[in-house]
Amino acid sequence: MINLKNIEKIYRTSTVETVALNNINLSVEKGEFVSIMGPSGCGKSTLLNIIGLLDEPSKGKVEIDGKHTNGLPDSQLAQFRNQTLGFIFQSFHLINDLPVLDNVELPLLYRKVSGNERRRLATEALEKVGLSNRMKHYPNQLSGGQKQRVAIARAIVGQPEIILADEPTGNLDSNMGNEIMDILTTLNQRDKATIVMVTHDENMAKRTHRLIRLFDGSQVQ
């Protein structure tokens, strides 16, 4: 499902060169739930961003769902992200000016889906995360856990094959973190979603199929 070959990511300024990722080779199978762990600044989020086509590697090949993505033009990358990937961010990244339902509809806006169908699918996604009673609320009227559930609903509304979660429980207390983890586990088990999750939390990582450890930009496990 996801194949990374010899991935390198180097940040260059006029004076300094920082290696964020070094020779990463990674394969994630369809239906797997993989977690990535490591200390702060080891390149976890960079790796996830490269998998999510939000960032480009300096070197190496990214293949997702059988398709080489290096060098794809902006419009095709956008379409690929829209159809295949769903993102969950640590700080939720909801659009505060839009109500919950519109936030969840967002990925469908960039597909040819009618307004009614968008509404139906977004409502279904919100039902899956137990937030159908908050559809008309605005993000700043919700708790952290609720916001993350909205973000999950947004990530799954377009039924992407891959969900990428960047520390989804990082901003939540352990109860709420467990709730979110339950939802992700259900998505993986019931809906067969492939999930790659960056986390700091060993307990959360233990609930996934496989753990990948990074240290100073290199894969150590």
Binding site: N49, G52, L54, D55, D74, S75, L77, A78, Q79, R81, N82, Q83, F87, F89, H93, L94, I95, D97, L98, D102, E105, L106, P107, L109, Y110, R111, K112, V113, S114, G115, R118, R154, G158
Partner: protein, 428 residues
């Protein structure tokens, strides 16, 4: 309706764009106020200017036939050997010899350029404009006669010393609403009998506006003077509106056969002559920037649009700055939209549409402000008789400039923003 239109334009995203636009506008009220103030103020001036331009160009009282008429207003002579040039109105005999003799059926009116003179009414001085015309002038124009009637060919044949005055002069002379017909008015030691009183027209209708109108035969000038240049202009109203080009072509042939004035002056001996039967606007641009065969239309309109463009550019640049900071505040939203499938192009369209919505709101405000200003101008005495109107042309002009303004000030910030890397954008 608006949403439906937007939806058809941008594949079902209209409602979302509208919601976010209004949410952003509400979020930063001061920014919104500054933006809307800049937009509406600029557009108001443009709309009033458009209304004024429309007033200058479009048919209006008493020149209701303006767009069906041709104007012979100036004649230009060139001395290509010595490099001299001379131009000015045509003579009365020129009109009689070369215009009234055109074979395509049309009505030809002759009217002199306006002059001003002081007259004394009821022991007080009044500065007035006057012009000499023929009887056809009253047929081609549509002056409203408040009393009396225009002079006719018969009055001219009888050599009657009569005059048509406007209501301003009438009000000064006999009092507001009083009858003036039959009374005498003295001008340059000659007594004229007032034969009619017309409702005046604004001075901006420069080809027909005046306070007093005299039959041409009462002029002291030698109207039989065969020189080409004089102090008259001709307005031609074809009997059949389809004959417009036919008359232009016929006059062009006639004009090509006219010999330039032979003054015998060693300093100026013209060998080329340029005279045209033009539509109103062309006759105007030819006076301003015409040269030889060139009507000057392209130059005048380029200058005009250049000025409008410059005038719009300055506030647009300001708005671009405001827009950049507004948009950069939304970097995280841009990142999210990109992460979930928005392409750079889609985002440019979204932000340009948002900006166009903002400028259209400014445009609507500008329309109301313009209506107020136009009402004030029409009801004040700044320009007597001015009748600016807010018609569909002005309205469409206002909408068009709003859209151009929206594009001008929206495209660059949108483009800059759309180039943001997703990862950078998400960091805010």
């Amino acid at each position: 309706m608006k949403t439906l239109f937007l939806n058809s334009l941008i594949g079902g995203r209209g409602a979302n764009y509208l919601k976010i636009t209004f949410a952003v506008l509400k979020r930063r009220k001061f920014f919104t106020f500054i933006s809307l103030f800049g937009i509406s103020f600029t557009l108001t001036i443009l709309v009033v200017a458009t209304a004024f331009l429309d007033h200058l160009i479009a048919p209006g009282y008493p020149e209701v036939n303006r767009d069906r008429s041709l104007y012979i207003w100036g004649l230009k002579e060139k001395d290509t050997k010595n490099g001299g040039m001379s131009s000015g109105p045509v003579s009365f005999s020129f009109i009689n010899t070369y215009v009234r003799t055109l074979k395509t059926p049309a009505k030809v009116a002759a009217t002199s350029m306006p002059n001003s003179i002081n007259i004394y009414l009821n022991n007080h001085k009044l500065k007035v404009n006057y012009r000499y015309t023929d009887a056809n002038f009253w047929d081609i124009t549509s002056f409203e006669f408040l009393e009396g009637k225009p002079y006719t060919q018969q009055n001219i044949a009888n050599n009657d010393f009569v005059v048509v005055i406007n209501d301003l002069v009438r009000d000064e002379y006999v009092g507001k609403g009083q009858s003036a017909v039959g009374k005498m008015i003295e001008l340059d030691n000659v007594n004229y009998r007032i034969i009619g009183v017309v409702k005046g027209c604004p001075i901006t209708r420069i080809q027909v506006a005046s306070d007093l109108y005299f039959p041409y035969n009462t002029s002291k000038s030698d109207l039989k003077d065969p020189r080409l240049r004089g102090s008259f202009g001709a307005i031609i109203l074809p009997d059949n509106p389809d004959d417009f080009s036919k008359i232009q072509a016929e006059f062009s042939v006639v004009a090509s056969k006219i010999n330039p004035s032979k003054t015998g002056d060693k300093w100026f001996n013209p060998d080329k002559l340029y005279v045209f039967a033009d539509r109103y606007v062309t006759s105007f641009t030819r006076q301003l920037r015409g040269d030889g065969e060139n009507s000057g239309e392209a130059v005048v309109f380029s200058i005009l649009f250049g000025i409008i463009f410059l005038f719009m550019s300055l506030p647009a640049i300001n708005l671009i700055n405001i827009n950049i900071s507004r948009i950069m505040e939304r970097a995280s939203e841009i990142g999210v939209r990109k992460a979930f499938g928005a392409s750079s192009k889609t985002l440019v369209i979204q932000f340009v549409i948002e900006n166009i919505i903002l400028t259209l709101i400014g445009g609507v405000l500008a329309i109301f402000m313009s209506l107020g200003i136009i009402y004030y101008l029409n009801h004040s005495d700044l320009i007597a008789y001015i009748d600016l109107s807010f018609n569909w042309k002005v309205f469409l002009g206002a909408i068009a400039v709003s859209l151009i303004f929206g594009l001008l000030s929206g495209v660059y910030p949108a483009w800059r923003m759309s180039k943001l890397q997703v990862v950078e954008a998400l960091k805010g």
